[in-house]
Subunit: 78 residues, 2 copies
C-alpha cells in the first residue's frame, strides 16, 4: 500500500464561512446579536449560517463583511 500523505478533504465554503464568522466575531468580542445590529442581518439567520444551515447570498455576505470591516474574501480565509 503506497504511503501517500493523506490530505484532509478541503473544507466546504459553508464550513469556512461559519468558522470565519465565529473567529471574526470573537476578535471583535461581539455576540451574534451585536453582529446582527451592525450588519442588519437577522440574528437567527447568523446563527444558522454559523451552523452551516443557510445558503447565504453574496449581498448578505457583503453586509456581514462591511460590518466586520474585512474584505469579503476574508470570510472564506483558509
Amino acid at each position: 500500500m503506497s504511503r501517500t500523505a493523506h490530505k484532509p478533504p478541503r473544507p466546504t465554503a459553508r464550513a469556512l464561512l461559519a468558522e470565519n464568522l465565529r473567529r471574526l466575531r470573537a476578535e471583535n468580542d461581539w455576540s451574534q446579536y451585536d453582529l446582527a445590529q451592525r450588519s442588519g442581518v437577522d440574528r437567527s439567520f447568523i446563527a444558522h449560517v454559523e451552523r452551516q444551515a443557510r445558503n447565504v447570498s453574496v449581498d448578505v455576505l457583503e453586509r456581514l463583511a462591511i460590518a466586520l470591516q474585512v474584505p469579503i474574501g476574508e470570510l472564506f480565509a483558509e
Copy 2:
C-alpha cells in the same frame, strides 16, 4: 478646501465577483459555456453574474471556485 486624497469607493462584492469570474475564465481561455459545463452552473446564469445581475449563493460560488480550481476567496480578490 482640504486636499485629502480622494479614495475611490470600494468595489461592491458583485463587481469583484463579476470581474474575477471574467479574469479567471480568460486565464483558462474558457467561454461562459466552458465554465457552465465544468461547474454545472447554467450558462445564462453565469452571464448574469458577470453583469452583476444575480445575487449568487455560497453553494453556487463554491461550484464555480471548484471548476476554476481556486479557493473561493479568490472570486473576491481585490
